[in-house]
Amino acid sequence: MRKFLIIVSLFFVVLGIVFTALPLGTIAFLPVGLAIVTAALLIFISKPEQRKFPKWILLAGLLTLLSIMGKVVFIQDKIETDKQFEQQKIDSKKQDVKDLEGL
């Protein structure tokens, strides 16, 4: 059971770090949340001398959680100017006026 929880919590913490590095927004909360829960559970079921590694996993999870929160709060979502799309709109409008003239 303990080994299984170590693998699961490690998997989720790595997945959380990958999701945080990628621009996936709040989705990263999901693996990190699971990593924290499994790490906490691991600490709870481990003997006092076995708690060092689960504590590191928990710390990694908490730090990742903080960085996700920082990204959500401080990094604003932006729209990139799409020149092709803008040109498409201008051309389309010219055609629309032509179509409307025919009505």
Binding site: P23, G25, I27, D82, K89, L100
Partner: protein, 251 residues
Amino acid sequence: MKRYLLAFGALLIAGFCFSQIKPNEKLTYAASYNMSGLMTQLAQVTMQTETVNTSKKSFLHLSLEATTFSKWDKFFKIRDLYEAYVDPLTLKSSLYKRNINEGGYIKNEKYIFEPDGKSINSTTKHKDGSETKKSFRIGSSTQDAVAIVYRLRTIDFSTFKPGQTTSFVMVFDEKEYPILVKYMGLENVPAGNLGKKQCYKISISAKTDKLKGIDKNLIWLTADSKKIPALVRFSIAVGTGQLALTNASEN
């Protein structure tokens, strides 16, 4: 005298149907999509109005644009543009366009409403550049999807009782769909730069598989003369999400 009476009558009717929709209005929304139970901001949706003049007539150009935030563009780029050219007073559709570009899926549709309002000439452009033209009949009150959104804003919900309904007929994908609009009462919701506003809560339903659930497609319109959509919650075939107003401006 008869002529004046007729003109007065026409003005009165126009007053009743008079749209509160003014040109140069810009509404910006943050669109979120439910991913594994978490609302994730994906795109910006902009609703804009402007006057377009031809040599014979003046039209109100209504546009609805969806653009993914730049961080999502590499994964799933969306550049959707829905447009309608309508009569500024009655909001009757003359031209409707739907240009979709969603992660490589492209669809370009154009409907030209015949002046009698009883038929549509549609043109669908395919990815390979070929075109399909079709002509089909519609009811005289049928409107396109964009005009319906704005038409909703002209309804006087202050006279409605919770549960009271009204209906529209919408043309979409070359088919007509009856749309049922149900007033559900008043609620306070955040409305971007307008602050927290008292809103009319409206449920939209249609006999189509495009909208899912009962009272799952909701729109909150500010309970004032402008009836600005402050919040939209949708439940469609591919999932659920919401549009939250971030900025409303008039030039």
